[in-house]
């Protein structure tokens, strides 16, 4: 009964989304107030329906209803309860439903949210969001219905893919989707502004918190995925330039550019059409990411069973959304002229550089990710693009970007008096250079050319981003949430830069053959293989090794890597033993029985790699703090109320 109820709720949600789209877009166009008034109830109704559908699917998983095909394919009676819940989004159909649920939730938040939008504009935003929702609901109902029954029902399910039976994977998709879907909100704001043919600084102030929040979720989602790939897939690293990783990284790069360009639009009323274009790009890349990952056109862990109908549908939807938005842009963007200008050396100029470099980096990643697809479509030999391409090409725009962060932070808006900031810039750079060199050659050994560069840039970002807050704090001035948030996010970036530099420069990894009692040496560390015992879990059996890690001959920790055999799927799964010592992440994974009492063992020591993942969360924390700044809550359109008395408004008044 529940699955049918869920299916029915999903159909009702589709109808309500259509209502929301029509009244949201047609209402303001024809100036019908009653139509506009119908939009919010439709949003609420759609959310209730989607939540009901999602609840029904979850209930089927919890009660182990193996008459539902999707449940039978992705669950099992021996599966622990937490993974029964996360199994809801463990495969294609359910993850789409999660996408739709999160979109409905974001839409609800926009409709009844904190920033009170003008009636017409708000209706248009909701209308565009409704259109996106219609597309995804149609897709789900037509090609990927999770509520289909299995006749006859099976006694037990095929179990969740063992790789996905993991806490990080329970949170990774919801976080990532919160980010993807959040960019839909920025996209809807952009489309609404274009439909309206008007875009003022108030628009930027409405859009900023939503975009920042989406970016925060995306950052955390990417970090969780990377962390999971590290210890569960045993890929041994934090980034592999895998097409699926790139698919989530591209919207992040576009989103980062968008956040910075929105800041300029908000504070100075510049970059208007560029900001709109970035909002369209960020969401298009989110859709492209979904397409790449879900349609099975690329080789990856995430490509579930490839179904051509699905690929064609997503591609069509992609073309409609992106094509539509870009046509609207071509038609309306010329209306939006920026009035003010800026000087050479002003903060605007550095933010412009930030945007250009981020977009170049984005183009590099996009090119490398799509090249194999394009080449294959043209019927040329299959090729693959990997780390050797991505690393140098990505670093080319990113290193100058990191070097310019310090300038952008200290530069003033509008005026290009960089000379006034010469002293703090030089002093902080000198300190960073000395510390960077000391770190590169003093603490660890085996530095490359880029090691001191990375450390110095990271430290320079830390020092310069602290200049302004420390100065304000000394002079007992108020510190707004915007400034605190921005500072924390930049500290997160510096953390990532330093972490990545350390990992790339000082990692030690080796596959070795060890018998029980034997040990291997890695610099000052020694790894000893002590014991091997049988182990049994709820839905698997296997072996468990006991390894002792020694530092300078003193025992440090005991790690227990496992080799599991999941009974239902009959698949072997490696669970690495992971420990941490002075910032160095130690990973030990069991390979296989090599006969003669020996086992193959993978040992990896990665300094500061934990900070790379932590950095994403620090950035997200900064973003959330900035997004909750007071100034975003009481924004009114300039059309209804003349120049508000905020700092930005005053500045603008002078400029005009």
């Amino acid at each position: 009964m529940l699955p049918e109820l869920g299916h029915f709720a999903l159909i009702l949600a589709l109808l309500l989304a259509a209502v929301q789209t029509f009244f949201g877009i047609a209402g303001p166009h024809f100036g019908r107030e009653r139509w506009i008034a119908a939009v919010r109830p439709a949003v609420a109704g759609q959310f209730v329906m989607v939540a009901t559908a999602f609840g029904c699917l979850m209930a089927s998983f919890i009660t182990l209803d193996f008459s539902v095909r999707y449940v039978a394919e992705n669950s099992n009676s021996a599966l622990p309860i937490i993974y029964r819940i996360s199994a809801v989004w463990g495969a294609h159909e359910g993850s789409l439903l999660l996408w739709i649920l999160l979109l409905a939730a974001w839409t609800l938040a926009v409709a009844f949210g904190l920033s009170r939008l003008p009636e017409k504009f708000g209706a248009r935003v909701l209308g565009v969001l409704g259109f996106v929702s219609v597309g995804f609901l149609l897709f789900t109902l037509a090609t990927s219905n999770p509520f289909l029954r299995l006749n006859p029902a099976v006694p037990d399910g095929r179990d969740l893919n063992p790789l996905l039976q993991d806490p990080a994977l329970a949170y990774h998709p919801p976080m990532l989707y919160m980010g993807y879907v959040g960019f839909a909100v920025a996209f809807a704001f952009a489309c609404a502004a274009m439909l309206e043919g008007r875009m003022d600084q108030a628009w930027a102030r409405w859009t900023r918190p939503w975009t920042t929040a989406a970016w925060c979720f995306l950052s955390m989602g990417i970090a969780l995925g990377s962390w999971w790939a590290y210890y569960e897939l045993g890929w041994g690293g934090y980034w592999f330039w895998d097409p699926v990783e790139n698919a989530s990284f591209m919207p992040w790069l576009a989103g980062t550019a968008l956040i910075h360009s929105l800041a300029v639009t908000d504070k100075r009323g510049l970059f208007k059409s560029w900001t709109l274009l970035l909002a369209i790009i960020a969401f298009s890349l989110s859709l492209l990411g979904t397409f790449l990952v879900r349609s099975g056109v690329i080789t990856s862990v995430h490509s579930f069973a490839a179904d051509p109908a699905r690929g064609v549908f997503i591609l069509t939807f992609l073309v409609i959304i992106i094509g539509g938005a870009l046509s609207l842009y071509a038609w309306r963007a010329p209306l939006l002229k920026s009035q003010a200008g800026f000087e050479f050396g002003s903060r605007e100029m550095f933010l412009l550089f930030n945007n250009i470099l981020l977009v170049v980096a984005l183009a590099v990643v996009l090119g490398g990710t799509l090249a194999p697809l394009i080449v294959e479509t043209l019927g040329m030999p299959t090729l693959s693009v990997g780390t050797p391409y991505f690393e140098p090409s990505f670093l080319t725009p990113i290193l100058p970007l990191l070097a310019l962060v310090a300038f952008g932070i200290v530069a003033s808006w509008k005026r290009g008096r960089l000379a006034a900031h010469k002293r703090p810039l030089l002093v902080t750079f000198g300190v960073s250079l000395v510390l960077g060199l000391a770190l590169a050659f003093g603490v660890y050994s085996g530095a490359t050319v880029l090691t001191p560069v990375g450390f110095t840039l990271g430290l320079w970002i830390i020092l310069t981003s602290l200049l302004d807050p420390v100065d304000r704090w000394r002079r007992k001035l108020t510190l707004s949430r915007s400034i605190v948030g921005m500072t924390i996010a930049h500290l997160g970036l510096a953390m990532a830069v330093i972490g990545i530099t350390a990992v790339e420069s000082f990692t030690q990894e080796r596959d070795i053959a060890l018998a029980q009692g034997e040990s291997a040496t890695f610099g000052r560390y020694e790894v000893r293989f002590d014991k091997l015992a049988d182990v049994e879990g709820p839905n698997y059996g296997g072996v468990r090794g006991e390894f002792n890690v020694l530092y300078d001959g003193r025992p440090l920790m005991t790690l227990h890597p496992e080799k599991r055999n999941y009974w239902v799927q009959r698949s072997v799964q490696t669970e690495a033993g992971i420990g941490s010592h002075r910032g160095t992440n130690i990973l030990i994974a069991l390979g296989e029985d090599l006969q003669g009492g020996k086992w193959s063992v993978r040992v990896q020591l990665r300094p500061l790699v934990n900070y790379v993942w932590l950095a994403a969360f620090v950035m997200a924390l900064g973003g959330f703090i900035a997004a909750t700044d007071k100034r975003y809550r009481t924004v009114k359109s300039e059309a209804t109320e003349p120049a508000p008395g905020t700092a930005g408004g005053v500045l603008e008044g002078k400029a005009g």
Binding site: N161, L163, G296, V297, I298, T299, V301, S303, F304, A305, A306, E343, F344, M349, F353, I356, L357, V360, V364, G367, G368, A371, P381, T382, L383, S384, V385, G386, P388, Y389, P392, S393, T396, P397, P400, D511, I512, A513, Q569, S571, V572, Q573, T574, A589, G591, E592, L594, Q595, G596, K598, S600, R602
Partner: protein, 149 residues
């Protein structure tokens, strides 16, 4: 030309030069580092250049996996049901590496015509086969290829 205009011109030229350099570097990196995919038949036909690093794909032949006891060295052959190619690898094989299953290996041919792999990838679950492998096997019309997909 006013100073403001000249500065703006320098700015625009600088941006263009920067983007141009980045583009040129990316293209060079791309040309140098792209890896092509070949199946054993293509290798037998001599399509692979001397010393070229490439991706080899096919099925692991049944009964071909041999270990050198006590070491990480392993030998197996990869087949597309027309031709076979011996492969040698030193290191830990992925969990899902099995005889009679799809596999992709990165590496080079040595003087003896043996493929020396530095990386071996296997399919991630039973629904999944590397698309290139599936394509290559379909081309050779071998019904056994359907087993895995």
């Amino acid at each position: 030309m006013t100073p403001t205009r000249r500065r703006r011109l320098i700015l625009v030229l600088g941006i263009l030069a920067g983007v141009g350099i980045a583009g040129a570097l990316a293209l060079t990196a791309f040309q140098k580092n792209v890896m092509f995919f070949f199946d054993p038949s293509a290798v037998a036909a001599g399509e692979v250049k001397q010393g070229q690093r490439f991706r080899l794909g096919g099925m692991v032949s049944k009964g071909s996996v041999q270990r050198v006891p006590g070491t990480l060295e392993v030998h197996f052959t990869v087949t597309d049901f027309k031709h076979e190619l011996p492969v040698t690898y030193t290191g830990i094989l992925p969990d899902l590496f099995r005889e009679g299953q799809g596999v992709v290996a990165h590496g080079r041919l040595n003087e003896n015509g043996v493929f020396v792999a530095d990386e071996v990838l296997a399919k991630h679950d039973e629904n999944y086969m590397p698309p290139e492998v599936a394509h290559s096997l379909k081309k050779n019309e071998q019904p056994a290829a359907r087993e895995g997909s």
